[in-house]
Symmetry: C2
Subunit: 337 residues, 2 copies
DNA sequence: CCGTGTTACTTAATCGGTTAAGTAAATAAA
DNA sequence: TTTATTTACTTAACCGATTAAGTAACACGG
């Protein structure tokens, strides 16, 4: 059975395809009676318009792309939820692309967007992404693009972030208030702006409390969990940390794993804070003090910005910046209150 | 700056658009020299073909749809990972649709697929989905469709499932071996086939051990976490369960929450098993004994099946059924070994 | 009764590739 | 030498919807 097209409807009703098209889009040029006849037949034959014909002609696809490092992470999963809630509401379709933290993949994906496949892009860049020689600046000029969480600071584009510096400052201060003097920050990337912001907040808090920043203060981890575990355990054995801040969700669980392996008691031997949206944080052993990011709201805000830009081309999208605060949720992996 | 089209390349090289098109698809009709010239200019002008023009003509979009209830769930997140890994490998695009367990939304989404927007569909149905009057049977005849995990048993289509009956049987037996005599099964749906399979395995295990199946044995929960918490706490107070099996990840954490609220000790007062892929299960307090589903592999298997069908239309997709076993991972929320 | 609008359509071009069918020139076979 | 075949293209139709431009019929003000 062939797909029902506008031409079939036209033939059945002895009208032109133009009339059908206009009737379906409720054009004022078409009489009420004809509209009814068209709508009735369309419903009867279960007509569904071909989106690609429409996209080709209208040069808009009613589709947006979400480019993220991974999906098995509460932050990104919740962000997708937020994005999708807005997209569904606006009748947009959502293409998902996972970069798996690979800059190469990210570039290949972004290049494809020059084809007009999507009307807009929401992106959280990889840990490897640097501004230099990245197509992002170019892309942001060509199609509406909103960074969320992991932004590329050198690129002029809309941004939805959380207050990473402050959140890290507060987390660090919380550890210090709990008695920590040798705090380590687990970083997932050297170039990622949010990593740097978090490191900044960390350093500011150390400085504010006259604590030294040493070579061991910042631990650089990779995307490979095995390597990360290695780095972590080695560091925990060599230095006597009494507090750790994991700047990603994966790193937070890695810390628990390392402490278990080395029989380190949390929070007795070492206090831990994780940047994480894990719904199970409160049921962990011990329950994890977290910096909880407003993932859903960030996704929603990013999508909302994007759709505003899609609706009116005069909207100065690239100047938009929103910072949605994270919150420190104190639990039993730290001692202070 | 206008988008580069095949026509522009044609004009620059004084060739017809047909030649360009064929050169780009490496047709044998085109000389090696011309191909090189076309490729060189395409690279120079950064030509990216318009996917919608191509889709319209070829009647294939190189895009698949993934329809799932939610994304903030380790199972689905991992499944997406599996799907996406295959899709990226094959150069396909992935549209994500979240039903939020709403049958209405699911239907609306599926109806849209008759438009030819996607070449194939991977779906895990909502808890509300019933076979009756569902467009699924029709859709499966029209475009390649693979169910994964939550199948619609009445519909003839490819399926990737896990061994729910056996897994539930084993989980139940494990609780019984640990001394449980009053076991409750938390079910997320009355109509979902996987829920019924799990309930079956549960009942078979009870029967095999001469334990009674009572009205309190199966607890029906909803998608609303607040209502679920209510149901759970009420049930835990009224009946003296000594074992619980949560058949979804969300229900597993709900059990922990309820037990905490009622000061019930796990596993002392009550032992718990959760169908869950939570990476933090081992760090929960107490660590959670889980029925771990092969989420990534199921997603991968579903996508692989779909792409085989897309590659050769003679592939009998609808007859394909694969069962990938789950595994019981014993931890400290249960007593048996 | 004429000109101007308005209504309700139709015609045809268009979006940007793809592909069946055609063609001229070169080469091979008879 | 003539015919058949291959090579390397071009022409033009096509996918299905949208839309600018055109038109016939009718209404209305002057």
């Amino acid at each position: 059975m062939e797909n029902v097209t506008i031409r079939m409807l036209a033939e059945r009703l002895q009208l032109s395809t133009a009339t059908i098209s206009k009737a379906l889009s409720n054009s004022h040029e078409i009489s009420e009676e004809t509209k009814q006849r068209v709508l009735a037949l369309a419903a009867e034959l279960n007509y569904v318009p071909n989106p690609y014909a429409s996209s080709l002609r209208k040069k808009s696809s009613h589709t947006i792309a979400v480019v993220i490092p991974e999906v098995a992470d509460s932050f990104f999963a919740e962000a997708i939820n937020g994005i999708e809630s807005v997209a569904q509401d606006k009748g947009y379709h959502v293409l998902i692309y996972l970069t798996h933290e690979s800059f190469m993949k990210e570039q290949a994906i972004l290049k494809d967007f020059q084809s007009g496949r999507v009307d807009g892009v929401l992106i959280s860049v990889t840990t490897e992404t640097t501004a230099a020689a990245h197509g992002l600046a170019q892309l942001a000029k060509e199609i509406p693009l909103v960074f969320f969480d992991r932004v590329c600071e050198e690129v002029t584009a809309a941004r939805i972030t959380t207050d990473d510096t402050i959140a890290a400052y507060n987390a660090t201060s919380h550890l210090i208030a709990g008695g920590c003097r040798h705090i380590g920050l687990l970083s997932a990337s050297r170039q990622l702006s949010i990593s740097n912001r978090r490191a900044e907040g960390f350093q500011q808090a150390l400085a504010a409390h006259q604590l030294p920043l040493t070579a061991a203060s910042v631990l650089h981890c990779s995307n490979d969990p095995v390597a990360t575990q290695q780095v972590l355990q080695t560091a925990l054995q060599q230095h006597h940390y009494d507090g750790l801040i994991a700047t990603t969700e994966k790193l937070a669980t890695a810390v628990y794993q390392a402490c278990e392996a080395l029989s380190l008691n949390i929070p007795g031997d070492i206090q831990v804070i994780g940047f994480s949206n894990l719904s199970t944080a409160r049921f962990l052993h011990p329950s994890l003090t977290t910096v909880s990011q407003p993932a859903f709201d960030m996704g929603k805000a990013a999508a909302t910005l994007l759709f505003r830009a899609l609706k009116s081309s005069s909207f100065p999208l690239n100047e938009q910046q929103q910072v949605i605060p994270s919150s420190l949720i104190v639990r039993n992996s730290t001692k202070a209150h």
